[in-house]
Amino acid sequence: MTVTEDPVDTNAVPTPDNNLNDHKPNGFGRMLRKEDPRLVRGRGQFCDDVTVPGMLHLAILRAPMAHARIVSIDKSAAEAHPKVKAVVTGEDLAAHNLAWMPTLSNDVQAVLATDKVRFQHQEVAFVVAEDRYSARDALELIDVEYEWLEPVIDVRKALEPDAPVIRDDLDGKTDNHCFDWEAGDAEATEAIFADARENGVVVTEDIVYPRVHPAPMETCACVADLDPVSGKLTLWSTTQAPHAHRTVYALVAGLPEHKIRVIAPDIGGGFGNKVPIYPGYVCSIVASLLIGKPVKWAEDRTENLVSTGFARDYIMRGEIAATKEGKIRAVRTEVLADHGAFNGVAAPVKYPAGFFGVFTGSYDLEAAYAHMSAVYTNKAPGGVAYACSFRITEAVYLIERMVDVLAYDLEMDPAELRLNNFIQPEQFPYESKTGWVYDSGDYEPTMRKAMGMAGYDELRKEQAEKRERGELMGIGISFFTEAVGAGPRKDMDILGLGMADGCELRVHPTGKAVVRLSVKTQGQGHETTFAQIIAEEIGIPPEDIDVVHGDTDNTPFGLGTYGSRSTPVSGAAAALVARKVRDKAQIIASGMLEASVADVEYEAGTFRIKGDPEKSVTIQDIAMKAHGAGDLPEGLEGGLEAQICYNPENLTYPFGAYICVVDVDPGTAEVKVRRFVAVDDCGTQINPMIIEGQVHGGLADGVGMALMEMISFDEDGNCLAGSLMDYLIPTAMEVPDWETGHTVTPSPHHPIGAKGIGESATVGSPPAIVNAVVDALKPYGIRHADMPLTPSRVWEAMRGNHTPPI
């Protein structure tokens, strides 16, 4: 079932007198955030705000070149600095067997380089000093001699036979090949392409999704405090996945897991940038171990941009086989993936290309096939980040760009082409040709709603008139389907850890409660929405529920917040743990009401005898009874609490229709995003205000990627995007006022029908914007142009000189 009407008017804006925020939901609905009162007072506690008595400061020396052998390191001058406590090199770490660490993709990465450096700004040594500035001063005193090696920068040349071998640390490695991956049926797909070449149409296009960076406003940081007496490590760290990190530290550093406490305090944005374990964290732990004092590491913006998890960097050849009437029959792609110097991809182990396999999109196809070669280059590691839903950004960009390429060749309206090819509502659950089972969907109403909000037909009329006058206006559409909420533990794990999540709920005697989560907010508002989920299920008001998260000593195990998995996985856990408590409450209520359990019914926090509404008890009465004096029903333990570990049976499949309107200045080639309409379907909505916020943020990301952002390199491997002057992020001047709407198609297998929204807009918006720009450039006969569509790149495209970015 799809509800196309908005549950609330999400475009309604609160004013001091319209009472929009007065309604206080005891469950789902618009509710102001519980985290805001501390954050607007400057009383949040971010990692760099943490101070521990006796704390020292760590700074990292980084490599000046992309590929070089380390000949020697002289650290004596740095050690002689009066405020320096320790200077540590890769060789020092190697003596403790700590120079290398596993990545989340079962590769290894150097904590500090021992043999050679493999990307510019790789970690080479660290200094621990009494204060931040002295630690940085001492870095200048370390003398490293390098022997330059030829770097591999252009991914297209990485597999050439004479390319220098980057990973000679791996036994028997003689090339830069990282892995190969495929999905779908190559033969069946080729058969359809062969037929279409004869009787239909085949379109092919080379499409690059450049390397970009999540660049959260807070960079990565940690404070490691290893108590020399108890042997317990407390690590405050910028992590989206505190439990997974703790387990990895236990496995790598050999510390017993119960002696590690990872605390993720307030996190200033993550977007996947704070999923990997970075050398800085490990160095800080080692430093605290060596010196016996707490150690803080806080990277600067340059370090964040040049060395931490990048995103994308896929070079894709896309192909579509279709009938001349515009029925899409098959899709095929060949991908070259740049993984940098170490395979640091954070994705389920059996999914080395993440969920790129959903590149068939929202369309009902006869066949599909993808093949990918991933390679090493002399660039920073990473790959899965920037709200990508495990590579669905790349998948959606490919298919949504290719559908527009097909529309261009067939001279069809891109909206109509999409409408003609959607998977139909009765086909769900739908198994895609690459093996993904889409849980639910009803695409046409969502598409029609977006077209209605945008005034699609009028926009096309306006465009036609403008073209007459030589003005460049473009309308771009994207329709995306995501697969989020990893994932069923039978085939999804990270380093052997199943992707399930725990949740624990305790109701106190006075009817207040605490819920403990395994996931961690980085701004998504978990402290609010998880209280709302519990409230919806057992009727305790959200303000009476404390949400505890981001502390491994005080929360149940789970894999953390990324890939839009908090609501699909942990949100389900929260609903189910509340139902467990409710079941017990019902038994206690039956005793209090002197009725059989079956005769008691529940509604909004109150238990009543069926047919006798006068006789009732509230969840608060029951909480006191559960903890109080007097008997409980036979065989029942006291207390009112429960714990659960939720293993999702499938992923959830949010979707949406986005329409973007741009104007391109023919004189300067500058692109202005004039309007952006986003209609999202994330199933049941917990808090529409937060959903709208998540969508807005992702749309701005899309403007960034489509028009401005790129981590680029020169031919020597120098990173050219090492500051926010070089890596451009949209400000309020580059983005329009967003127009959002919703449809609601609940997930059939999720306990509350919710699907996750955190990454939808980042996934769905770049193709809408690029499609709009390419549409604007139609008078120039342009069918494709690669991101980022900066004025100079658009200018080149207008002159027929468009080149893919390197």
């Binding site: 805001d36 954050l39 607007v40 400057g42 807070e218 701004g523 990301d701 992020i729």
Partner: protein
């Protein structure tokens, strides 16, 4: 060197290195961690504080330059336990998500409203254009500032310490 400045109404004196940046002085020496550090290049604006009623980027200001001046940070926005309308607006309109950019945004917004009590959307966008928010996409920040403007027009309040 000894540096004395007035921070949120209190006179504070510290012995600091001449090269100390104001952002580090405020955070590390004075313990006011509401002001954040997000870049080194004056691009992100998470470090915005006021020096004598003028919003400045404290990451590119030496602490010593503010000796003898008035510095106001996010911790000084509240008056007698009452939130500034700008702070209230950010809560009411979901103007923040992770909250990292928020203190800087609010300091700039407060300065804007003190000079222009009824700014247009374009004026607000321009006022915050030296600051980056990675979470909100800016629309809700603009609404938050409009909320505060409206609130102040309806209930004249004592705006800002001057």
């Amino acid at each position: 060197m000894e540096v004395t400045m007035n921070v949120n109404g209190d006179e504070v004196t510290r012995d600091i290195e001449p090269r100390t940046l104001l952002v580090h002085h405020i955070r590390d020496h004075l313990g006011l961690t509401g002001t954040h550090w997000g870049c080194d290049t004056s691009n992100c604006g998470t470090c915005v504080v006021w020096v004598d009623d003028e919003p400045v980027k404290s990451c590119t200001t030496l602490a010593a330059m503010t000796a003898g001046h008035d510095v106001r940070t996010v911790e000084g926005m509240e008056t007698d336990g009452e939130l500034d309308p700008v702070q209230e607006g950010f809560i009411q309109c979901h103007g923040l998500q992770c909250g990292f950019c928020t203190p800087g945004m609010m300091m700039t917004a407060r300065a804007l409203l003190d000079r222009n009590p009824d700014p247009t959307e374009a004026e607000i966008r321009e006022a915050i254009s030296g600051q980056i928010c990675r979470c909100t996409g800016y629309s809700t920040i603009i609404r938050s500032i409009q909320w505060a403007a409206k609130k102040e027009q309806e209930t004249p309040v004592e705006v800002s310490a001057s």
